[in-house]
C-alpha cells in the first residue's frame, strides 16, 4: 500500500525480552514491518535458544518466537554495554522488556530513566503478575499465571484434579495484549507527541479470559461458584465435548433456534418447545439428561463424518477434536494461512502459527528470519550509533559484545 511495506514500516523497536510472552509482542510488531533489535545477554542470549526441538544446535522454538528480529548480544552490566542500550533507547519508538519487576530499573532502563532521554518512547513491561501488588516480585511462568487467575481450576473433570491448558495460551495472549497496547499508545502519540508506560501481565491476561465465571460468581452473590465441569462448557448448555464414533466431537446448541434444531436432529422435537428446557440456564441444570440424549443419538450414527454432516446441515455448531498434527495439516488452516510455513537457514522449511491479525492492505506471509545470536552486532552499532569497525572489535575483545560463529 503506497509508500509503506506494512503498517509499522519505519518504526524502531528495542526488544529486551526472553522466553515466550515478551518475544511474542515484538514478533507481532516485526510481522507488521517494524525494525526489531533483540537485545540478548552475553554470552548465552535468550534461554529459548537452548530449548527443544533442535537441528544442528538451532532451536525451532526460538525461531518461532523471534522471526524478523535482529540480534545484538552484549554484556548489559558493563558500562559500555549500558551506554549502548541507552543510546539505542534514544533512537527507538518502543522499548519492550519482560524481566521480573524491578530488574530493568537496576539495569538503568526503568521508565523514569528512559523517558527522560526519550519522552516520545513507549515502554511496555510484560511480567507474570504485573509491576505492583503482593505477587509482583514472584517469577512468572504461564501455568502460574493461570493458577492465580482461577483458570486452571476450571479445566478438567469435577471429580478429578484440574488440568493445565494445552499450550502457553496466557504467554502468547499476554504478548498479544502487549502489542495491542503498544499500537494504541502509538496512535495516541500521533495526537500528543508523547510516549507512555504500559504494564501488561500474564495474570491479568488469563483473568480477562473468564467470559462467564467472574460475572456469574459476583452477580449471583456467590450462589454460582464456578468450577471445572469436565466435558461441559461452563455456563452454557448444551455445549461440550462428546464421544463420537472415531474421535471426540464438540457440539453446541446454545441459542433457542439451535436447541430446537438439535432436538429435531436427535429425534426429540417435542423438547424444543418444552418450557423446562427453554433457556440455556434451565438446560445447564438438566445437562446430565441432555448429555445422555445427545450421546445416545451419537452412538446410533455410523461414523463421525455422518455426525458432522447432519449437524452442519442443521446449522448446529460442531467440530471434530483434532490433534495438533491434524490441525497443522487441515486444508482450512492451510488454505487460510493459519499455519504458516517458514524458512530457516538451519532448520529448513517448517510450520509455525501465523499472526491472528489480517490486514486487507497487506499480505499475511512475510519471509521473516530469526537471527543467530549477535548476528547484527556490527550492523546495528554502525547504523544506529555510528561505531567504527575498530571500536566494534575492541568491544568484542573486551567481551562486551558477543556473537555466535555461524
Amino acid at each position: 500500500m503506497g509508500a509503506y511495506s506494512h503498517i509499522l514500516d519505519g518504526y524502531k523497536i528495542l526488544d529486551f525480552t526472553q522466553f515466550v510472552a515478551g518475544p511474542t509482542v515484538t514478533r507481532l510488531l516485526a510481522e507488521m514491518g517494524a525494525e526489531v533489535i533483540k537485545i540478548e545477554l552475553a554470552p548465552g542470549g535468550d534461554p529459548l535458544r537452548t530449548m527443544y526441538t533442535f537441528k544442528d544446535g538451532r532451536s525451532s522454538l526460538f525461531v518461532q518466537h523471534n522471526r524478523g528480529k535482529m540480534s545484538l548480544c552484549l554484556d548489559a552490566k558493563s558500562a559500555a554495554g549500558r551506554g549502548i542500550l541507552l543510546d539505542l533507547a534514544r533512537a527507538a519508538d518502543v522499548l519492550v522488556e519482560n524481566f521480573t519487576p524491578g530488574a530493568i530499573a537496576r539495569l538503568g532502563l526503568g521508565y523514569e530513566a528512559v523517558s527522560r532521554i526519550n519522552p516520545r518512547i513507549i515502554m511496555c513491561s510484560i511480567s507474570g503478575f504485573g509491576q505492583s501488588g503482593p505477587l509482583a516480585a514472584k517469577p512468572g511462568f504461564d501455568t502460574l499465571g493461570a493458577s492465580y487467575a482461577g483458570v486452571i481450576d476450571m479445566n478438567g473433570y469435577a471429580e478429578g484434579g484440574p488440568c493445565p491448558p494445552g499450550a502457553a495460551i496466557g504467554d502468547v495472549t499476554a504478548g498479544l495484549n502487549g502489542a495491542a497496547s503498544i499500537g494504541f499508545a502509538l496512535l495516541h502519540r500521533e495526537r500528543t507527541g508523547r510516549g507512555q508506560y504500559l504494564d501488561i501481565s500474564l495474570l491479568d491476561t488469563y483473568f480477562h479470559c473468564h467470559d462467564f465465571s467472574v460475572q456469574a460468581f459476583s452477580a449471583s452473590g456467590g450462589a454460582i461458584s464456578p468450577t471445572r465441569t469436565g466435558p461441559n462448557v461452563p455456563g452454557y448448555a448444551p455445549a461440550g465435548v462428546f464421544r463420537g464414533k472415531q474421535r471426540s466431537i464438540v457440539v453446541m446448541a446454545i441459542t433457542a433456534a439451535q436447541w430446537r434444531s438439535l432436538c429435531r436432529v436427535i429425534g426429540r422435537p417435542e423438547l424444543g418447545d418444552d418450557p423446562e428446557f427453554a433457556t440455556s440456564t434451565e438446560r445447564v441444570e438438566r445437562m446430565p439428561l441432555i448429555r445422555e440424549l445427545i450421546q445416545g443419538w451419537l452412538d446410533t450414527m455410523p461414523g463421525d463424518d455422518e455426525i458432522i454432516g447432519v449437524l452442519e446441515a442443521a446449522r448446529i455448531p460442531v467440530a471434530p477434536v483434532l490433534s495438533v498434527a491434524e490441525a497443522v495439516n487441515h486444508p482450512h488452516l492451510r488454505q487460510r494461512g493459519t499455519v504458516m510455513t517458514v524458512s530457516d537457514p538451519v532448520l529448513g522449511l517448517f510450520d509455525v502459527p501465523a499472526s491472528p491479525w489480517r490486514f486487507s492492505e497487506f499480505p499475511q506471509a512475510r519471509n521473516l528470519r530469526a537471527p543467530f545470536l549477535g548476528e547484527h552486532n556490527g550492523t546495528i552499532l554502525k547504523q544506529y550509533l555510528g561505531y567504527t569497525e575498530q571500536r566494534l572489535q575492541q568491544l568484542a575483545g573486551d567481551g562486551i559484545l558477543h556473537s555466535e560463529n555461524r
Binding site: 527443544y52 537441528k55 460475572q215 466435558p231 501465523a354 491479525w357 490486514f359
Partner: protein, 403 residues
C-alpha cells in the same frame, strides 16, 4: 494526560456484534474511551442478553461484555433500519461485525458497500473460521475453534478423553486480536488517510496460542506428535500440577538451579548431583513427580510447602478457584478484578481489560439497556426529529426495553 481522557477519545465505533468475541473487541475500545454504538437487532437484541446470571431479567453476562456502549435496537431488514445503520457507518471510524461470513454482505453492509460509504472506515469482521477456506461458512462458538485448532486435544490425561476449555479463552483472545488489529489499522490511517478491512478468526486466535506444539511437530518432520499428557509433560520435570496436602499446587522447576532448589526444599540436597536426575527428560521418566507428591503429603500443609519452595526460589503457586481468585488481595490491589456499577445489580465484579495504560485510569463504563440510546443516537448523529423517531418506533424499525 493532556487534553484527552483516554487513548480512543473522539473515535466513533459502530459495533454490530453479539455473544462474546465481537463484544469483547468493542468493549476494549470503550475501555480506552471510544464512543461505541452497539447495533442490536430488533426486537430481542444481542443473544447474550439471555445468558446467566440474572437479576430482574438483567444479564450480568451481557453487562460484562458490553460496558461502555450505547444501544441502538433496530430492524436491519426494514429499509429505514438499514438506512440508519449506513448513516452511522458513514460517520464512524470503525465498524465491527461478527455474523457468519456472508451474512453482513447480504444485509448490504459488506466491505465494498461500506468503503463506498466511508473510505476512511476500518472494518473488522470476526468469525469462527475466517472469511475464506473450506470451513468459512460453518457456524461456530469458542469450542469449535478450540477443537479445529488442536487445542482441546492437548488437554487431559493421555489415556482419557480430552478436556474442554474452562472458559471462552479463544473468544476473548479473538476479541483482543480484533481490537489490536483495529488499533494498528487506525495508526496506518494516520499516515495514509485510508481505512482497510480486517479478517479475524477464532480458529486463528486459538492456533496462534500453540507456543510449542506446532514447531515441535513440524520441525521434527512429524517424528514427535504432541498429545495431551495430563498434569505433567515428558519435556520438563518437575513442572506441572501436583496434589498437595490441602489443594493442588503448580510447581515449575525446569532449570538445573530450580531442580537443586526443589531437592533442598525436600531435605534431599544430594539428589541435585545425582546423575539419575540430571536432565528434565530423566526426571520425567524417573519418578520425580511421585517423589515430590510424597514429600508434599508428608508436610503439615501446603503453606509449608510454598514457604520451603519459595525460600529456594522455586516458582510455586496454589491452584485457585474462580471465587478465590476474585477475592485474592493481589488481583484486588492491582485491579485485575474490576468492580463496576450497574443500575440493576448495584456493584459487581468483572475482569478488567488487560490492555493497561499507566497514564489513564480505568473509565467508569455502564452496559446499556436494550435500545436505551435509540433517540440520542438518531438525534445527535443523524439529525432525526422526535417525530420521525416516534414514527420509526411505531413501525417497529427501532425498539427499546422500557426501563
Amino acid at each position: 494526560m493532556g487534553p484527552f481522557r483516554h487513548v480512543m477519545e473522539g473515535y466513533r465505533v459502530v459495533d454490530f456484534t453479539q455473544f462474546v468475541a465481537g463484544p469483547v473487541a468493542g468493549r476494549i475500545l470503550a475501555e480506552m474511551g471510544a464512543e461505541v454504538i452497539k447495533i442490536e437487532i430488533a426486537p430481542r437484541g444481542d443473544g447474550s442478553r439471555v445468558f446467566a446470571a440474572f437479576k430482574d431479567n438483567r444479564s450480568a453476562f451481557f453487562v460484562q461484555h458490553n460496558r461502555g456502549k450505547k444501544s441502538l435496537c433496530v430492524d436491519p431488514k426494514k429499509p429505514a433500519g438499514l438506512e440508519i445503520i449506513k448513516g452511522l457507518i458513514a460517520r464512524a471510524d470503525v465498524f465491527i461485525e461478527n455474523f457468519t461470513p456472508g451474512v453482513i454482505g447480504r444485509m448490504g453492509l459488506g466491505y465494498e458497500a461500506v468503503r463506498a460509504i466511508n473510505p476512511r472506515v476500518v472494518m473488522c469482521s470476526l468469525s469462527s473460521f475466517g472469511q475464506d477456506g473450506p470451513l468459512a461458512l460453518a457456524p461456530g462458538f469458542d469450542p469449535s475453534g478450540a477443537a479445529y485448532s488442536g487445542m482441546i486435544d492437548m488437554q487431559g490425561e493421555p489415556d482419557g478423553p480430552p478436556v474442554g476449555m474452562g472458559g471462552a479463552v479463544g473468544d476473548t483472545n479473538a476479541g483482543v486480536s480484533a481490537a489490536a488489529a483495529i488499533g494498528f489499522a487506525l495508526l496506518h490511517r494516520e499516515r495514509t488517510g485510508t481505512g482497510q478491512y480486517l479478517d479475524i478468526a477464532l480458529v486463528d486466535a486459538y492456533f496462534h496460542c500453540h507456543d510449542r506444539s506446532v514447531h515441535i511437530y513440524s520441525g521434527s518432520k512429524g517424528a514427535i506428535v504432541p498429545r495431551r499428557s495430563g498434569n505433567h509433560t515428558p519435556f520438563y520435570c518437575p513442572a506441572g500440577i501436583f496434589k498437595g496436602k490441602d489443594r493442588y499446587l503448580v510447581i515449575t522447576a525446569v532449570t538445573q538451579a530450580q531442580w537443586a532448589g526443589v531437592c533442598r526444599a525436600m531435605g534431599r540436597p544430594e539428589l541435585a548431583a545425582d546423575p539419575r536426575y540430571d536432565t528434565n527428560e530423566k526426571r520425567a521418566k524417573g519418578g520425580v513427580v511421585e517423589m515430590v507428591e510424597r514429600w508434599l503429603q508428608s508436610l503439615p500443609g501446603d503453606d509449608e510447602a510454598m514457604r520451603l519452595l519459595e525460600r529456594e526460589h522455586v516458582p510455586v503457586c496454589p491452584v485457585l478457584s474462580v471465587a478465590e481468585a476474585i477475592n485474592h488481595p493481589h488481583l484486588r490491589q492491582r485491579g485485575t478484578v474490576a468492580t463496576i456499577q450497574d443500575p440493576v445489580y448495584g456493584t459487581m465484579d468483572v475482569p478488567a481489560s488487560p490492555v493497561r495504560f499507566t497514564q489513564f485510569p480505568p473509565l467508569d463504563l455502564r452496559a446499556p439497556m436494550l435500545g436505551e440510546h435509540n433517540a440520542e443516537i438518531l438525534q445527535n448523529y443523524l439529525g432525526y426529529t422526535r417525530e420521525r423517531i416516534r414514527e420509526l418506533e411505531a413501525q417497529g424499525v427501532i425498539h427499546r426495553d422500557n426501563r
